[in-house]
Structure formats: C-alpha cells, structure tokens
C-alpha cells in the first residue's frame, strides 16, 4: 500500500499495484513432446495463458478492486515475442505487461527464469505485491516463487488459499499438509496462489477489444542488464544426460459396460482378496 501526500490534507491510501508473473505454455490439451536436439519441451506451436496463472490474475484484480484501485501488471518470459496468453490476461483486466523474449533464454531453468522475472519486475513500476502460481502446468518445478522472493529480497508466503490486504500487511491463508495456517506478511511480498481458490473471470468482448491496445513492454536480456551467461543453457548449471522411454504398464482389460460392468469389478476385487 503506498501513501502519498496531496498538496493539502494528510496522507491517504491511493490503492495498490499488483504484479502477476504469468507463463505462456503449449496447450496442455495437445500431446507434448521433447525437442530431440535439446531434450527440452517443444514450444514452437501456439502458446496460451497457463490456467494455473489465471487464478493469480483474478486474485490480483479482486485485490485492486477491494483496495481502492491501482494497476495489475503482468510479467512473462516467452519465445518469439509471444503475447497470446498475455492478451488473455489483459482482456481479463490487467493494465499492462512486461514481456521478456530473447533467443539467449532458451534452456533456462527455474533459477534462470527467476533472475529474468526479478529484473523484469524492476521495470513494472512501484508495486505492493507480487503474485505467482504455485507451479506451472508444463514444467511444474514449483521453486520459482521462493527463488524470486529471495532475488527481490522480499518475504514470501506460498500456497495461498486466500489473501486479504489490510493497510501495509497481507493476511494469507496458507495451505499445509494438515490444513492451513493463517500467516501475516508485511508488504511488499511475494505470494504464490493455489489453483482453484478464485473463479477466473471470462474476458468480456469489451475486455478483449481493449486488450489489443494495452501496452506490452517487450525487452531483451541485455535490456534487463543481465549477463547472458547467467541465463539460458549457459546459466542452467544442470544438463540432461539422457531421455529414456519408461516401462509401460501391461495393457489392461478394457470392456464396454453391458450392464454387468459392476460384476467385473466385484470379481476383480474378490480375486485380489480385498473384499
């Protein structure tokens, strides 16, 4: 929450700005494959907004609404200047985006990605909160939120089910193995949002039209002042030794239900002596 002092009167709350990191990924409905020359996920087709990130975008829009206005800024790293997924989130209501696109980023691992996102967030202007998903739907390393928080020198809360902002503090319900913890964190902070905790809005026709003219600040690694050696293949610090085909499960008995399907299940369970 930022305070400003108008020419007369006293300090007043002017709303909050939220940064949301979003990933544009190959459509999960299409079968994925690895690029045989690099063994990394093929990303040459159309990319879409990762559904996991739509929850963070929605959460950010709701927080801005609930706290007297402000802006939602998207941060993304994607090949070939891809903006299709960003336009979806802009159509939902985000104000602007920073897109980092550079051939030097090919092969970046989660830490390299976090370095790029941290620098790109520096171009987003003042912010009170950075939201991410808990993990992407294509790489699902789940380490970016904490890596990013450390690089930004911020506190963090992961696996958020709900976020309420109260002055300069966020109250976050954090999912745990046993249930959930109520956590308080001073802003600015990084919070990762669990999928399914809000209902992402569908972009309206008006929103889709408006998104076409919203600003997307496209930058390169050099623009961010990052050393190309720290990102991409060179910066990854890990390499794929081999890709092997996993042992397939033996084909099962797949039968059409003719009204007796349940009986097949009963005898299967009975053969296993579990009933």
């Amino acid at each position: 929450m930022r305070f400003c002092r108008p020419s007369v009167g006293w300090a007043r709350i002017v709303g909050m700005n939220v940064v949301v990191c979003v990933k544009q990924i190959p459509d999960p409905a299409e079968p994925g494959s690895l690029d045989p020359s690099t063994n990394t996920l093929k990303r040459d087709g159309k990319l879409i907004l990762d559904e996991s990130d739509s929850y963070g975008v929605e959460m950010a829009l709701q927080l801005v609404d609930a706290n007297g206005g402000g802006e939602v800024t998207l941060i993304s790293m994607a090949p070939r200047g891809e903006t299709a997924g960003l336009r979806t989130a802009l159509a939902m209501g985000a104000a602007k985006a920073v897109l980092v696109s550079d051939d030097a980023l090919k092969g970046s691992d989660a830490l390299g990605t976090s370095k790029v996102l941290a620098k790109a967030i520096g171009r987003a202007g003042d912010y009170d909160l950075v939201l991410t998903a808990t993990e992407s739907s294509d790489g699902y390393t789940g380490t970016v939120p904490e890596q990013l928080a450390e690089l930004l020198g911020l506190p963090s809360v992961t696996f958020a089910k709900s976020i309420v902002v109260d002055g300069t503090t966020a109250k976050v319900d954090r999912q745990t193995e046993a249930g959930y913890d109520e956590v308080e964190v001073p802003l600015p902070a990084v919070v990762s949002v669990t999928a399914g905790v809000v209902e992402p809005r569908y972009p309206s026709f008006k929103g889709i039209m408006a998104a076409k003219s919203k600003p997307v600040d496209q930058v390169t690694v050099a623009d961010l002042g990052l050393d190309v050696g720290a990102v991409g293949w060179a910066g990854a610090g890990q390499e794929i030794v081999e890709v092997v085909t996993a042992e397939a499960r033996e084909a099962g008995d797949i039968v059409e239900d003719d009204g007796e399907g349940y009986a097949r299940i009963v005898s299967f369970l009975s053969d296993l002596k579990v009933i």
Binding site: A110, E146, E150, G153, S156, R249
Partner: protein
C-alpha cells in the same frame, strides 16, 4: 566426485517424522556413507526416529516462533554451507516446506535444483536425477554441471522407508541468521482440517472421483463406495478446483501421490497431472464413458460406461455381500 555426505530435510507432522523423510533417509543411506538430517524447528522429539532410520545427526534451528520454515532454514543452511560444513547433496521432499526451502536456498547459493525426482542413480560418479515427463511416458535423466551443493526435490513414495537400527540422532544447533527484509512473514494461527477414515496416502484402497461425476452431490457415491471398501476417498484436481471437495482429497502432481493395492478412478479422464499421482498403484480400475480417456492406458480393468449406472450397481452388489 563421489557423494560422501547427504543431508535430508526432516519434516514432522503433528510431532511425528513425515513418511517422505523416512523414504529419503533410506535412499540417502544407499548412496552415501554419512547421512544427516536438517530440521526447521525443535528436533528433540524426532531425533530417535531419525536415528532409527539412519541419520546420525540432526542439525536443527530450534523453535522458529512463528517464522516460516522455508526462509529460516534456507538462511541457516546457506550459512552452514558457507562455513564449509555443508554436504555434497541435500534431499528435499516435494512438499510445501520442501519446495520453499529448496527454492530459497537455490537462489542464495546461486545453485539450481533438480526437481520432480522419482529415482536417483549414479553415472560416472555423479548423482543423476530421474524425472518422469508426459505422465510417465518418458524419463529425463539430469545431472548437475557445477560443483555447488546439489539440491534435489524428490517426490513422495519414490523409495521405501527402511529402519537401520541406528541410535538416536545427535541434535546440533543450526543458527538462523537475521533474515532482514525477507523474514517478515509470521504464522499467527494454525488450523487442522479433520478427515475421517483412512489416510489418503496410506490407505490400501483409494476410490477417486472426477469431473465425469457431473455435479458435486454425486461425489457421495464415491464416499459410499470408499466406506464399503474401507478405502480413502480421493479426487482429481478438476473437482478440487471446482470446490466439490477440499484440497486434502487431491491425488496428483499437486496433492497426494498414492500407491495403494487398488485404485478406483470414477469419472476421471486421466490428465497427466493426475496420472503422475496414482500410476504407481498396484491395481488400477477405471470407470469412464470415453473409451479414448487416457486413464484406460494405465488401467488393469477398464469399464467403458456411465459412472451413474456402474457405481450404484457396484455399491448395491457390495452391500449385499
């Protein structure tokens, strides 16, 4: 470089050592001569169990008084490593605190994490992580190229826990430095969500429901069948996201990894994210009306049919036995 010393993140659930920790200790003992645990919290109550599973020492921060484990433990581990007391590798379970700690530490050390590991093998003296991709169709083998501390995030149920018969682990203090601007988050209250019946990740039989059930009320059929079979009810991410059942029911990449004797998938199509969490089950039964559903590729018995017909018949047949 050979691996001689491994640290394992020790996690506790309601005062007991988490199963994932015991699994990681068993694998670590297989790979290295020295295996020690690290813990964000007070370790006096868990030192005996850690020792019985092969950890000779546990380096613990002591009570964190509400601070989060990830940021606190990562800072403590960073300092221990910088002081030259670190291991060759650290094993973290793919859990909330495991991911938090590994992520924070990774950025502090400027060292990558190899994630989603289900097996570890030695190749030319290096430790190589095995990560299944595309729902387990292929395995990607990855090794580190730097000589920094090797951080592995390992999935639950990848290894079998095994006692070593060791004495209680010696407890030593792991100092948490001043966290500065990163340390502001504090836990102010904790809530435990009650779940009745067998634990999802320990039950011999799991019955899960998915979007094919049609609407939230129909999940009652899954619960009824689970009760009859003394099974744990589970769910796909789709219906957890839709709010039909709580997150604690979720089986999959996020949620619980399960390996029961029998897994019954009702109205679940079998998205990669779900298959990853259950394809290790010994026997898989699937009921789905779409014959092309990917769940049938892992099923031992697949019924191509309507769950709304098959489940009531199955429940009735089991009730009358």
């Amino acid at each position: 470089m050979a691996i001689t010393k491994i640290w394992v993140l020790a996690e506790a659930v309601e005062g007991n050592v988490a199963t994932i920790t015991l699994e990681l200790l068993a694998k670590a003992r297989e790979l290295a001569g020295t295996v020690e645990a690290v813990h964000g919290g007070d370790a006096t109550g868990i030192a005996a169990t850690l020792g019985a599973h092969g950890a000779t020492a546990v380096h613990a921060t002591g009570d964190l008084s509400g601070a989060l484990v990830g940021v606190s433990l990562a800072a403590a581990l960073h300092d221990a490593i910088a002081a030259g007391n670190g291991p060759d590798a650290i094993f973290f379970g793919t859990t909330q605190d495991g991911r938090d700690t590994a992520g924070r530490l990774s950025a502090k050390l400027d060292a990558p994490v190899i994630t989603n590991i289900v097996d570890l093998v030695e190749r030319d003296g290096a430790l190589v992580g095995v990560e299944p991709v595309f729902g387990g169709v292929q395995n990607v083998l990855t090794r580190f190229t730097s000589d920094k501390t090797k951080l592995f995030l390992i999935r639950p149920k990848s290894f079998a826990a095994e006692e070593s018969g060791g004495a209680a682990a010696s407890v030593s203090a792991l100092a948490v430095p001043d966290l500065g601007s990163t340390g502001g988050a504090k836990i102010v209250n904790q809530h435990v969500e009650e779940r009745s019946g067998p634990q999802l990740d320990e039950a011999a039989i799991v019955v899960s429901g998915g979007r094919g059930l049609g609407d939230a009320e129909k999940y009652a059929m899954v619960e009824e069948l689970a009760k009859l079979l003394k099974a744990a009810p589970g769910a796909s991410r789709a219906i957890v996201d839709a709010g039909w059942v709580p997150y604690s029911y979720q089986v999959g990449q996020t949620g619980k990894v399960v390996k029961p004797t029998v897994y019954i998938a009702c109205g679940i199509s079998g998205a990669t994210q779900h298959l990853v969490g259950m394809k290790g089950s010994k026997n898989i039964i699937a009921i789905n009306k779409d014959p092309e559903a990917p769940i049938f590729s892992v099923a031992d018995l697949g019924i191509v049919g309507d769950v709304h017909k098959v489940l009531p018949q199955l429940i009735e047949a089991l009730e009358s036995r």
